[in-house]
Symmetry: C2
Subunit: 346 residues, 2 copies
């Protein structure tokens, strides 16, 4: 039985502006923001309206985080780790190389202590957050030439940002932070050797397979990155409880549906890419091993230099090591056996 919440009669008209870090052409992710706004409108009888806009519409994309901190834009659909230049601790909101898969990331945030840690971080910037999507484990990107071992990574120019790029730099790669829209032409010209974006569905749309046919996996820097709404904290706090709940609930719907759409669309797209002659390749083991070692060396250095990174890293690492072990029992053994049997044609 429930205690009745207070009756609310005169709900206010509130309009928010939400800028996305993603263009509308990326329909899985941008569509989730539109669906969230639609749901919030239905839930409030049209009184809470969220206008969705693509990058640069309200403010230049590079200033969007500041605009949300200041409250001139109320919310940003983004990956937290796009903002690691501001503070490396923003990585924990999305993904770290060799970190959590999508389900572990949710578990950490909802119930594993990650939620309060991230909230404390975002509060430093006048923000609060809602998880509103995930892509699942991504692919490792497109390479013009086949890469057979670690030494062949040296000197490669690869379009990759964030901590993944920092790790690859330790392996001799020269990470390039160019806009994703520019990567195709750079690969075609030949001055760029490799580029990574996301998974098969979006990668196929971006056309990389035409100019860089070797498609590597896994994207070990993106095992299950959350998509967040970063929200101006004061604007959120000022909302009636009904509107706060409408945001929370519609974000959960976006989380649920975005992952499902990526999983189905990626499944279709990877078949289409193989039909087009794409060469699917696992990263050679020596590259994965070197990247793994370099990742945890990087985290130790970031923890030493950034107290806010350290304060989250230590519990995150403990959680990650423990949940890796527990997922190996039922979850991983279920998949291992089934995948093997299915691959044998049974």
């Amino acid at each position: 039985a429930l205690a009745a919440p207070p009756r609310i009669t005169g709900l206010p008209d509130i309009s928010w502006r939400l800028q996305s870090s993603f263009p509308a052409t990326l329909d899985t992710i941008y569509g989730a923001a539109e669906a969230m706004a639609r749901s919030a409108a239905i839930l409030t009888g049209g009184r809470f309206r969220i206008e969705i806009a693509p990058p640069d519409r309200y403010v230049p994309a590079g200033q969007a985080l500041d605009a949300v901190s200041a409250g001139s834009v109320q919310a940003l659909q983004t990956c937290s780790y796009y903002h690691v230049d501001r503070d490396p601790a923003f990585a924990f909101g999305s993904a770290l190389p060799f970190g959590l898969n999508a389900r572990m990331q949710d578990a950490w945030i909802v119930e594993g202590g990650g939620g309060p840690l991230l909230d404390g971080l975002y509060a430093q910037y006048g923000l609060t957050s809602l998880v509103a999507g995930n892509t699942g484990a991504q692919m490792g990107g497109w390479f013009r030439k086949e890469i057979r071992s670690l030494p062949e990574m040296a000197g490669l120019k690869m379009r990759i940002a964030g901590l993944g790029g920092m790790v690859l730099a330790r392996l001799g790669v020269e990470p390039q932070e160019l806009a994703i829209e520019s990567a195709y032409a750079a690969l075609d010209d030949g001055w760029l050797d490799a580029a990574e974006w996301s998974g098969p569905y979006e990668d196929e749309q971006l056309g990389f397979y035409k100019v860089a046919p070797y498609y590597y996996y896994p994207g070990w820097w993106d095992g299950g990155p959350s998509i967040h709404l970063l929200i101006n904290r004061a604007a959120f706090e000022a909302l009636p409880e009904t509107y706060k709940e409408a945001l929370r609930a519609s974000a959960a719907q976006a989380r649920h549906e975005m992952q499902a759409r990526y999983d189905v669309r990626n499944n279709t797209a990877i078949r289409s890419l193989i039909d087009k002659g794409v060469q699917l390749r696992p990263f050679p083991t020596d590259i994965l091993e070197a990247a793994y070692k370099a990742s945890f060396e990087l985290y130790a250095e970031l923890a030493a230099a950034h107290p806010r990174f350290k304060a989250i890293y230590e519990p995150w690492k403990g959680f990650r090591d423990q949940i890796y072990q527990s997922f190996r029992v039922a979850e991983y053994s279920f998949e291992s056996f089934g995948f093997t049997q299915q691959a044998k044609g049974h």
Copy 2:
């Protein structure tokens, strides 16, 4: 930009009764129903009230599905596959042996064609449905003696229901459908040899480790069972759109949070069980192989006998085979490498 939905001013007071198939002591799952009702109340200013009750409160548990079909109870929190005796096609709403993991199940329902197929099935019974949780891959249950190979399964009395029990019967097991509350005493008396329920968190609460110390994995019949709300279809259709959306959105929150809670609580519980001396064992390969073969033989027979089962099985099987292949690429290789490195102490 959004078209404004019509302004709604006079929302009606509506009270629903929701009976759960789960006792309140199973706090992860029962708590999700309570949270859903709380969210629906907040979203509607207290006008849409859902009273949650444990099994047998409104109607005897065995009559709950009929009561929801008839509309005397509006909703049932349940596993669809609890109702396979009525119609074997109800299995697809939850899980089939060697079927989909939790994320694949969501993908199938949201975007992979499963949603309309299930809706057509439930409509035959005057029902509609919302996914409102998942446990993830479960454990394979508690055995009084160690089981080293397939012949040792013959003649075992095991508490297991549904399709998992039907498959185990083909391996010589004698499945017993006794209530979970009775399983502990039956194991202790020695007339029952094994029992399965769910995962470490709930299994530890039920105390099986004291009387059956061999804990097998994976629960290959429960790779990622959805928890559903089965809802009287006419009652749902009669709701204002705001209330329908409140149900959809609060069910998505339940889906998100229940899985996260299980993952964290199972992680803690499996450590606690090992500390208590529980013997963790993978099912021997010959048992898994025989069960796999028997499962697909069973599905072929069910499809031949039940047109509604066949109509869902064929597309489900195609989806399952394809998504197994695509998950092996990025998702599974990310986990395989990371789990191996972490297990080496790296």
